[in-house]
């Protein structure tokens, strides 16, 4: 079934550890996004990529990095996790600019 796959589904991580959240799409969408969802704050954009080989910073990029080596994959890395990064992370993709986004099922990350 075509769509977006995120891994892991959930993770408990010790503070200071490095973690990569994986995101793969098989729809050949050009644009991909990472959001974090926190109660009362909705979804906030962390990083985005409008096409393979390019990335951009969103609203809350500090502490996170991304890469877009190819069209399908868009991993999100926390270099040194902190408790404030406890959240639900959603990866999304869209065909191109100005089109709706398709979302993965989310990764629930707890940093302790």
């Amino acid at each position: 079934i075509a769509g977006i796959t995120q891994a892991p589904t959930s993770q408990i991580l010790a503070a200071g550890r490095r973690m990569t959240l994986r995101c793969t799409q098989d729809m050949r969408h050009n644009a991909m996004y990472w959001y974090r969802q926190d109660l009362g704050l909705g979804l906030r954009l962390i990083h985005y990529s409008n096409t393979a080989g390019t990335t951009g910073k969103g609203e809350v990029p500090d502490g996170y990095s991304v890469s877009r080596a190819n069209t399908d994959d868009f991993p999100l890395t926390l270099a040194s996790a902190v408790p404030s990064q406890t959240s639900v992370y959603f990866c999304a993709s869209s065909v191109g600019v100005h089109t709706e986004a398709f979302f993965g099922q989310g990764t629930r990350l707890t940093v302790v």
Binding site: Y35, G42, F90, A92, E100, F103, Q105
Partner: protein, 114 residues
């Protein structure tokens, strides 16, 4: 800066009653507007979108939204709510400043009472 405001954190309506969820945006150019719905433990699903043309747009599950440029609003409506509509609803705007990205509001949680 671009932003989306959903004034109501939560709303409770009776099953069969009408619904209106408010959304206001701040963006200097022509907006691309979306409404998404999120059921508990799930990702987001697109309900409807506005790019241009008719300012009243129809979406899935009987929802509609009206774009009002003068009020910078894009309110979501449904004439008769069903219990299965209980979920969280997000308004979003697509912006093209420094690359295209979608900015979301904080969401409105809808409760439906029997």
């Amino acid at each position: 800066a671009q932003s989306v405001t959903q004034p109501d954190i939560h709303i409770t309506v009776s099953e069969g009653a009408s619904l209106e969820l408010r959304c206001n945006y701040s963006y200097g150019a022509t907006p691309y507007l979306f409404w998404y719905v999120q059921s508990p433990g799930q990702g987001l699903q697109l309900l409807l979108k506005y790019f241009s043309g008719d300012t009243l747009v129809q979406g899935i599950k009987g929802f509609e939204a009206e774009f009002k440029r003068s009020q910078s609003s894009f309110n979501l409506r449904k004439p008769s709510v069903h219990w299965s509509d209980a979920a969280e609803y997000f308004c979003a705007v697509g912006v093209s400043t420094g690359g295209f990205k979608t900015i979301f509001g904080a969401g409105t949680r809808l409760f439906v009472k029997a």
